[in-house]
């Protein structure tokens, strides 16, 4: 099974007309993520379909999960386990990182909590955060891409 451009356009149209804000569709070898409205890091008032940091309607079709960046200079930071993703060390505190933040290997970029156990997630590379894909407080799966970093070394 595969998706044609026309299929994707049709799915986007349906999502736009629906009451849903987010659609994740996994088919044979394809993962399609649609998000209505703004990407988290770059809010935009228009109800355009936005995926990742692109400002206009964008669809990403990628090989089966976990989604991976194609650019070799981009590192995907993935979740080491299934749990709840937190961008801040505690409620109300500023996030560990924002898009554009400079990080090195040891920088803590997020927490994944499993049954009250906090697991820190580190950047793993020196670079700049380009995208934050997971939503604060959301359930993330094992090996799901949480954020992306462009290497600078």
């Amino acid at each position: 099974m595969s998706l044609t451009a026309a299929d994707v356009a049709e799915i986007m149209r349906l999502v736009e007309q629906s009451t849903f804000d987010e659609l994740t569709l996994e088919l044979d070898g394809i993962k399609l993520c649609l998000r209505r409205g703004a990407a988290m890091a770059s809010p935009s008032p228009a109800p355009a379909l936005v995926v990742s940091s692109e400002p206009t309607s964008v669809v990403t079709t990628e090989p089966a999960a976990p989604a991976r960046a194609l650019d070799p200079n981009i590192r995907d930071v993935t979740s080491p386990l299934l749990g709840t993703f937190y961008r801040t060390p505690k409620p109300g505190a500023p996030p560990f990182v924002e898009v554009g933040a400079t990080v090195d290997e040891g920088t803590i970029v997020a927490i994944v909590e499993v049954m009250k156990l906090m697991n820190t997630v580190r950047a793993g590379v020196r670079g700049t955060v380009t995208e934050i894909l997971a939503c604060d407080g959301a359930l993330v799966e094992y090996n799901e891409t949480l954020l992306r970093i462009r290497r600078t070394d």
Binding site: E26, L82, M115, Y142, N143, E144
Partner: protein, 457 residues
């Protein structure tokens, strides 16, 4: 409390099977998958699949905190554990109880009661259910005394063992001392529990088990028995109901004993009480209770017309038993064969890989429970079950004929299978006569591993 959303903490054919019942009940499903099963058929059948960890079972399907967290995260009301994996871990049932998640199965305390062999044996005795002569031994002297009383041949069993693991056959009482010492040392290393017990060895036994349902308040009904004597190294291969050539008083005795045992525990949910039927003296003995849905449950469903998974869910919802004993009417005969990705020509070695062609039978009286379609992968990390073919007919001969026909039309390429082995079983005169003992497969294979009892692990 009605259950609206179930997280299924399992994989393979049983995951697909549970999803099917949930669909017909209008219950939403989330399947917990390992990374190796992201693209599996059940992952696509479920309303949602969440990846709980890497392929290794200890990191995913056995990871209690990941599975409980996933359940809370997707806001499911209940967990169905299937069979194997976490289905009989008291700690898991306990974690669910603590988090307010409905565990579709017995209570943690009941799992503990039947999980400990000695405890289960004591409960059986208390329920006036016969057990194999023997008992726990704490010293060599005690063992020698008991050995002389119950007579050789004897089995030395590890309390922590099961499924044929941690057992030693002792032909002469004089050899008992050495066997006990070795068994205790091995059991301590393998199971972290050095306790052993002695049992009289039944030379020619049949494995017959009784399906029960309990409401958790002391009401228990049975749905007849299943004969699972066609086993290789304690792995069941063919199961049928009713058990052929069983004297009617013995059959009724088995049913009543199973109900008494489950009643004593105020058992909740679906369970199976396993017995050893001694062919020499027509007696039966309690073996153990399995506190979960079993692989071979479809033969019972075929003859009774009852969806056991739906009953498990109803009991978990607190609706109790929806059938009285007199409502249970088993009609005809059903036989199941387990189609495994293993190579009978090569000591039944597992044969993982990709199924490049898959075609399952769709004939009259045939049910297939499987998660395998063309292109499905059979990962090396899990058991080798590809699917189960269940034949139902008005009588045993018809059921056998239908199953043979169905096996003949099944096409599976890309992995080795035991289909030819099943054809041989179903064509065997001894099997067709009915009532084989657990050594039947070894006789059929002409193997040297005679006696059916070996030491594993």
């Amino acid at each position: 409390m009605p259950i609206r959303h179930i997280l299924i903490a399992n994989r393979g054919e049983i995951a697909a099977r549970i999803i099917r019942s949930c669909r017909s009940l209008g219950i939403r499903t989330t399947l917990a998958v390992s990374e190796a099963d992201r693209d599996s058929v059940p992952a696509r059948m479920a309303d949602r699949a969440v990846c709980v960890g890497p392929a290794r079972p200890s990191d995913s399907y056995l990871n209690i905190s990941a599975i409980v967290h996933a359940t809370l995260g997707v806001q499911a009301d209940a967990i169905h554990p299937g069979y194997g994996f976490l289905s009989e871990r008291a700690a898991f049932a306990h974690a669910c109880e603590k988090e307010g998640i409905v565990f579709i199965g017995p209570t943690a305390a009941q799992i503990e009661a039947v999980g400990d062999k000695l405890r289960a044996r004591a409960e059986a005795q208390a329920a006036d259910v016969p057990v194999v002569p023997g008992g726990p031994v704490t010293s060599i002297e005690e063992a020698m005394d008991m050995g002389r009383t119950i007579c050789a041949p004897l089995l030395v069993k590890a309390v922590g063992g099961g499924g044929g693991r941690g057992m030693k056959l002792v032909e002469r009482v004089e050899d008992l001392r050495e066997a006990i010492e070795l068994a205790a040392a091995e059991a301590s290393a393998a199971f972290g529990d050095a306790r052993v017990y002695l049992e009289r060895f039944v030379a020619s036994g049949r494995h017959v088990e009784v399906q029960v349902l309990g409401d958790g308040e002391g009401r228990v009904i049975h749905l007849g028995e299943r004969d699972c004597s066609v086993q290789r190294r304690y792995q069941k291969l063919v199961e049928e109901t009713p058990a052929p050539n069983l004297r009617e008083p013995l059959r009724r005795g088995l049913h009543a004993a199973a109900v008494r045992f489950a009643q004593r525990l105020s058992y909740r949910g679906a369970g199976t009480v396993e017995f050893l039927v001694d062919r020499a003296n027509d007696a039966f003995y309690f073996l153990e209770m399995n506190a979960r849905i079993q692989v071979e449950h479809p033969v019972t469903e075929a003859v009774s017309g009852i969806d056991l998974v739906a009953e498990q869910i109803a009991i978990a919802e607190g609706r109790g038993l929806r059938h009285g004993q007199t409502d249970i009417d088993c009609i005809g005969w059903a036989i199941e064969c387990r189609v495994n990705a293993e190579d009978p020509a090569n000591e039944f070695r597992p044969s993982p890989g990709t199924v490049i062609e898959s075609s399952w039978p769709e004939d009259e009286g045939i049910r297939v429970d499987t998660h395998i379609a063309t292109g499905s992968r059979v990962p090396p990390f899990y058991d080798s079950l590809l699917g189960k073919i269940i034949a139902h007919g008005p009588d045993r001969a018809t059921a056998i004929a239908r199953l043979r026909e169905a096996i003949g039309t099944t096409r599976l390429r890309g992995v080795a299978t035991n289909l030819a082995f099943h054809s041989a079983v179903l064509a065997d005169p001894e099997f067709c006569a009915g009532g084989v003992d657990t050594a039947f497969v070894n006789r059929l294979l002409g193997a040297k591993e005679a006696g059916g009892v070996r030491t594993h692990g």
